[in-house]
C-alpha cells in the first residue's frame, strides 16, 4: 500500500488535512477504487468521521443533507421524499449503503446521477471554508473544491414540478447512458424558472439551456415539449465511451427528455 490513512473526528480537522493535500474519503465508493487500483497519485487519505455530517435537516424551504448521508438514508428519509426515487436509482443496495451525498458531487461520468437531480433543483453546496455555492458553479470547479459539509435542496412546490429519469442498458441497476432531471415550477399554468439538467452529456452534470429556453414562460404542452426535446443538446458535447457513442447520446437525449416531460404534465 502506498497510502497513509488518518481519521478526522471533525469537519475542521478534515478541511485542515485537505489543505495539506490529503484526499477525503466519505463512503469509499470513489476513492477506494483508486486505492485498489494502486493509484500512485494518492498519498494521504483522511476518513471523514464527523457525525454532524450525517444529519438530515428539514426546513421550511427544503431539506439539508449532510455530506455523509448515504443514498439509502436519503431513500428512507421522509424529509427528502422528493429525492427518494433518485436515490433509489443509484447503484445496487450495497452501493447505496455506502455512497454519500457529498461523494456523488464528485462522481465522474457516467456516475453522479444524484448530482444531476440536485442541479435541476438548484441546490446550494455548503463548503467548510468557502461558504455556500450554487451547485452549477460548484460543479464547474469541483476538481479544486474544498470540503463539502452539506447540500441544501429546495423542495419542489408540487410533486409534478420535479422529475428524474435514468437511462440504462441493463435493469434494474447499471451505470447510466445518460440521466436527465427537470424542475418546472408553474405559475398560472406557465413555467417560471425552468431547469433541465443532464448527466452523461458532458464531463460533469450540465444544464440544457436550449431546453430551458423552449420551456420558459410556456404551458407544458406538446408544442413546448417538442421544442425542448429538439433543442436540448444545444451547447452540449456528449462523450463516447463503452456505454454509448457521442452520436447515440445526441440522438436519444431529446427522446428521453420528451418522455420525462410528458410524465410531468
Amino acid at each position: 500500500m502506498t497510502v497513509t490513512v488518518e481519521r478526522a473526528a471533525t469537519a475542521e480537522e478534515a478541511a485542515a488535512a485537505m489543505a495539506r493535500g490529503a484526499q477525503v474519503v466519505g463512503g469509499g465508493t470513489i476513492v477506494m477504487r483508486r486505492v485498489n487500483a494502486g493509484d500512485q497519485r494518492l498519498g494521504r487519505l483522511v476518513v471523514l468521521a464527523d457525525p454532524a455530517l450525517r444529519r438530515i435537516g428539514a426546513g421550511s424551504e427544503g431539506v439539508s443533507l449532510g455530506a455523509l448521508v448515504t443514498m439509502s438514508e436519503v431513500a428512507r428519509a421522509r424529509e427528502a421524499d422528493f429525492l427518494a426515487p433518485v436515490a433509489r436509482q443509484v447503484g445496487g443496495p450495497a452501493i447505496r449503503n455506502m455512497a454519500t451525498v457529498g461523494g456523488n458531487l464528485f462522481a465522474r461520468r457516467t456516475y453522479g446521477d444524484f448530482a444531476v437531480a440536485l442541479l435541476a433543483l438548484g441546490a446550494r453546496v455548503i463548503l467548510a471554508r468557502e461558504g455556500a455555492r450554487e451547485i452549477g458553479e460548484f460543479l464547474r470547479g469541483r476538481e479544486r473544491s474544498g470540503l463539502v459539509l452539506a447540500v441544501e435542496v429546495p423542495r419542489p412546490r408540487e410533486a409534478r414540478a420535479f422529475g428524474f429519469l435514468k437511462v440504462t442498458r441493463v435493469h434494474p441497476a447499471a451505470a447510466a447512458v445518460l440521466s436527465v432531471a427537470a424542475h418546472l415550477p408553474r405559475e398560472g399554468g406557465r413555467i417560471r424558472g425552468a431547469r433541465i439538467a443532464f448527466g452523461g452529456m458532458g464531463p460533469q452534470p450540465l444544464r440544457a439551456p436550449g431546453a430551458e429556453r423552449a420551456l420558459e414562460g410556456q404551458p407544458l404542452d406538446a408544442g413546448a415539449i417538442g421544442r425542448a426535446a429538439t433543442g436540448c443538446t444545444e451547447g452540449l458535447e456528449p462523450p463516447t465511451d463503452a456505454l454509448a457513442s457521442a452520436w447515440y447520446r445526441r440522438e436519444v437525449a431529446g427522446v428521453h427528455l420528451r418522455r420525462l416531460l410528458e410524465g410531468m404534465v
Binding site: M1, R33, N36, A94, N97, A173
Partner: protein, 158 residues
C-alpha cells in the same frame, strides 16, 4: 508503516488482527482472518462478489477500509450454515443456483439482507436486492427462484 489493530465481530465471534493503511475489508477478511468466502471480482464496486453484511446491511468489502469496521459486526457466507445449511444455501443447492460459484457468496449475503428484513419478498424485491451482484454463468433465473424458495422455507421454520 505502522500496523493498526482491528477488533470486530465476525460471524458472531470476536476476532482481532492487524491491518495496514489503505487495506480494504475484503483483503483483511481473506488474508488476515482466513475467511475466504467473500470473493475478489472487480475491486471497483461493479460486481458484488465481495458483498458482506456490516451491522446487518450489505456493503462491498473491497470498497470498505478495514480499519473502519473496528467494533462492528461483519457477516460473511462462511457464517451462514449452522448444524444445517442456511435455507438460502439449501435452496441454492436444490435449485442449481450456483454453477461456477464465484458470485454465490455475494448473492447469498445480498439475499440474506433482504429476507432478514422482508421475509416474504416479491420477485421484484428479489431482483432489486441482487441488482448489484453480477452472475456471468449460472443465469439469474435459478438464483431468483432459489431466493424466493428460501424465503418460503424461512417462513415455514419461523
Amino acid at each position: 508503516m505502522a500496523l493498526k489493530p482491528v477488533t470486530l465481530t465476525l460471524n458472531g465471534a470476536e476476532r482481532a488482527a492487524f491491518t495496514e493503511d489503505g487495506e480494504n475489508l475484503l483483503e483483511f477478511l481473506r488474508r488476515r482472518l482466513g475467511d475466504l468466502s467473500p470473493k475478489y471480482g472487480c475491486g471497483q464496486g461493479s460486481c458484488g462478489a465481495c458483498t458482506v453484511l456490516l451491522d446487518g446491511a450489505p456493503v462491498l468489502a473491497c470498497l470498505t477500509l478495514a480499519e473502519s469496521v473496528a467494533g462492528r459486526r461483519v457477516e460473511t457466507a462462511a457464517g451462514l450454515a449452522g448444524a444445517a445449511l442456511h435455507p438460502l444455501q439449501a435452496a441454492f443447492v436444490e435449485g442449481f443456483a450456483a454453477q461456477c460459484g464465484y458470485c454465490t457468496p455475494g448473492m447469498l449475503m445480498a439475499a440474506k439482507a433482504l429476507i432478514d428484513a422482508n421475509p416474504r419478498p416479491s420477485r421484484e424485491e428479489v431482483l432489486e436486492a441482487i441488482s448489484g451482484n453480477l452472475c456471468r454463468c449460472t443465469g439469474y433465473e435459478p438464483i431468483i427462484a432459489a431466493v424466493m424458495a428460501a424465503a418460503g422455507s424461512t417462513e415455514r421454520r419461523a
